[in-house]
Amino acid sequence: MKMLLVLKYELITLLRKPGYLILAFGFPIVSLLVLAGINLARSGPQAQDLADNEPQQLEVEGFVDRAGLIGELPVEIPEGTLIEFPIEEQAREALSEERITAYYVVPSDYLASGELIYVHPSLNPLATDRQDWIMRRTLLFNLVGADAELADWISDPVALEEIDLSALEAGLDGDCARPGMDCEANPWIGRMPMLVMVFFFIVLTNGSALLIRSVSGEKQNRLIEILASSIDPLQLMAGKILGLGIGTLLGFAAWVAAAVAALRVSQPNLPVEFEVPGLLLPWAIVFFLLGFTLYASLMAGIGALVPNVKETTKASWIVMGPMLVGYMIGLFSIERPNGALMTALSLFPVTSPLNMVQRLTTGQVPGWQPVLAAALLGAAVFLAMKIAARLFRAHHLLSGQPFSPKILIGALRD
């Protein structure tokens, strides 16, 4: 009964925190509204007309051909878009007078080196609006003897049909039938497994951090002294885990609902063959619940050893370190989420809540693997709760000793 009181108190306190409300509900709602606004603006008749009628604006650029390769310009390049200068000084002058926006220098040894110099006022390495394709096309066109058809063929040598034998064996049709980097046509589908993993990481770390902050905060303001005299520490811990767990789950649900709604509102051009793996959602819930319980238990336990909120960061690293390793490897495995290392991490209990969910999003995990991973994670949760119970004792809760790994080891041996 007292556990329920703790649960209620923790949940209500959490739901009153502006920071939590903004993160759990504010961000999804705002993101949804922004998406809806963008969609509305895009779908407006005027916007559509503008998009249809506005011609692509090309900047006027120059070139200096020291290799003597460029005899004529391809017909598809509008006249006056690419101006030849006999020497670089003239091109530089034209650039300074803003008659051109940039110029190219084709070095005399271009055939041997393949180096082309692009003189541009902005060196922005992230720029996507450069039009160097015009010069590439011009060089190719002239190298192949001013044969536009051959230049086209070289630029785009195959009309490719990809046959993914693994997908066919799994009964899937098309590269974008399931989330994963095989889908080159849609970057969102391509990166979906990684995004799901990042989302899980954020929710699990933030959710379990609530536990350590709650316990250490109560230790710091001495509230724990009153609580310890009126409730069994284990009931206190269970109440906290359940209360803050429900709060985290609410936030999780809000984000998932917002993501689903965003997909409907934004109406992205998803390929017709695309479908989210059917078992993803039930397994995601299982791994979320088990993963949260694992990390929340450990954080609550370690929180009992931390005398104040200030020291929680150091202590959190001990618990979160292994998950961070799985997270980092998951980030770098977007090309091959089903390799040997990822398979191992997705079965290993402390990393499985992230890496198994990442792999499940691709829909290419053999059925026995999530079952085994969930069983191992369940066993780890049992062990974590036993460890947490050992740490969550009155003499630790009432101690004001600064946290150190030595204290942790001593408490575990206690």
């Binding site: 055939l111 003189v119 541009h120 902005s122 060196l123 770098f332 390799g339």
Partner: protein, 406 residues
């Protein structure tokens, strides 16, 4: 002066002569290693050097021209198969990573199939395309055909010729000022944060009462700032040494091209440091003042992230700065306290930041630091013995009518 030295030494002793300082020193290198090492491991694990096959039903590759000799070492091996059956057997047997089938009407339709279990590596795809393009141009001299088939390597240069780098990625030497700016920014947050929490601790454990009776507030602040700057410089020097070792390892031992023989732009690095040092003192003095005004350490925890948000404003404005490194936004952010560190780092990669702007920025940072130290002194004098009471800005500035809030 003696007391200033004592306070500074005490700050250094408290920070440096303890075991956890080793962790502090190693935290940044370990964090970077944690970001980079999994990437390298995954890259090496996912590397696929198996040959790529093809079946030519069209006859365009009947007597294929091989890659130029000087290029053949960089290419994935390409194997011809007489039919789909042989190619499929090789794929299933793990002899090739994928195979292309050029359709019988390829010359007209360009139709081709790519058959695989796992998408072939980008190197394999590129090698096959280069090979195909080279052979579609077999009527041209090898040098011309290869140049048409191979990608153009574009080097971007600014109009005055002071900066140039490959369009694919800027070289290591160009990004070093940004890395230095980020390192100093990280030190600034941790150093200034620890200064503030140290002061709050001294208030809460009443050490401050003893200190107040034996040292003036101005000496106290000077000593603490000197101490924290020294500790941070020790950390920075250590990180630079680790960075040099990492660059040498990556370039000379592991042969990573990007790390080989970096051309270091010392002027840009000095410019970043020249602006960063007074910024550091400014931020520390501000945090010291806040430490004197707040009631407990928990209140101060939100200030670190806020400082971080201000520091990384140039990252948010990266595109605007990169598009116009001499524009109003770039110059303003170069002059403002805190944002100047990264802005000058980013601009140094793209252009030569005018000396007057660096000097102006330095003077602004120094002026701000002096004002912050003055404010910190006032806040310290007023707040050091006030427990449980928050100081208001009006009180610090000595405005009439400003009252303490409990």
């Amino acid at each position: 002066m003696n007391k200033v030295r004592l306070v500074a030494f005490e700050e250094i002793r408290r920070a440096v002569f303890r075991k956890s300082f080793i962790f502090v020193l190693l935290s940044m290198p370990l964090f970077i290693a944690m970001l980079v090492v999994p990437g390298i491991i995954m890259e090496s694990l996912s590397r696929n050097d198996l040959p790529i096959g093809y079946v030519d039903l069209s006859g365009v590759l009947e007597a294929p021209r091989p890659f130029p000799i000087e290029e053949s070492d960089h290419q994935i091996e390409i194997l011809a198969f007489p039919s789909r059956v042989e190619a499929s057997a090789a794929l299933e047997g793990g002899g090739i990573q994928a195979y292309y089938v050029l359709q019988a009407d390829y010359a007209e339709s360009r139709g081709a199939e790519l058959v695989f279990h796992e998408q072939p590596s980008s190197e394999a795809t590129r090698s096959f395309y280069d090979f195909l393009q080279l052979n579609l141009l077999d009527h041209l001299p090898e040098e011309v055909a290869w140049r048409a088939a191979d990608r153009i390597r574009i080097t971007i240069r600014n109009p005055d010729g002071t900066r140039l780098f490959p369009a694919s990625a800027p070289p290591l030497g160009s990004v070093l000022p940004i890395i230095l700016g980020l390192a100093v920014g990280g030190l600034l947050i941790t150093g200034a944060g620890s200064l503030m929490s140290g002061l709050v601790d001294e208030k809460s454990n009443r050490t401050i009462e003893v200190l107040t009776t034996s040292i003036s507030s101005s000496r106290m602040i000077t000593g603490k700032l000197l101490g924290i700057v020294t500790v941070s410089l020790i950390q920075l020097a250590f990180w630079i040494l680790i960075g040099i070792a990492a660059i040498w390892l990556a370039g000379s031992i592991f042969g990573v091209e990007w790390f080989k023989d970096p051309i270091i732009d010392w002027a840009s690095l000095i410019a970043v440091l020249a602006v960063a040092l007074p910024s550091f003192v400014f931020a520390s003095a501000v945090m010291f003042a806040l430490g004197a005004t707040i009631v407990d350490a928990q209140e101060g925890q939100a200030i670190g992230p806020m400082l971080f948000m201000v520091l990384i404003i140039p990252i948010y404005a990266l595109l605007a700065i990169a598009n116009d490194p001499h524009g109003g936004l770039a110059i303003s952010l170069s002059l403002l306290p805190l944002t100047s560190i990264l802005t000058i780092g980013i601009r140094s990669m793209l252009t030569v930041v005018p000396t007057w702007q660096i000097l102006a920025s330095m003077f602004i940072q120094i002026a701000c630091a002096l004002v912050a130290i003055w404010l910190a002194g006032k806040a310290y004098r007023l707040g050091m013995l006030r427990y449980g009471q928050r100081l208001r800005l009006g009180e610090i500035l000595g405005r009439r009518g400003a009252k303490a809030r409990t």
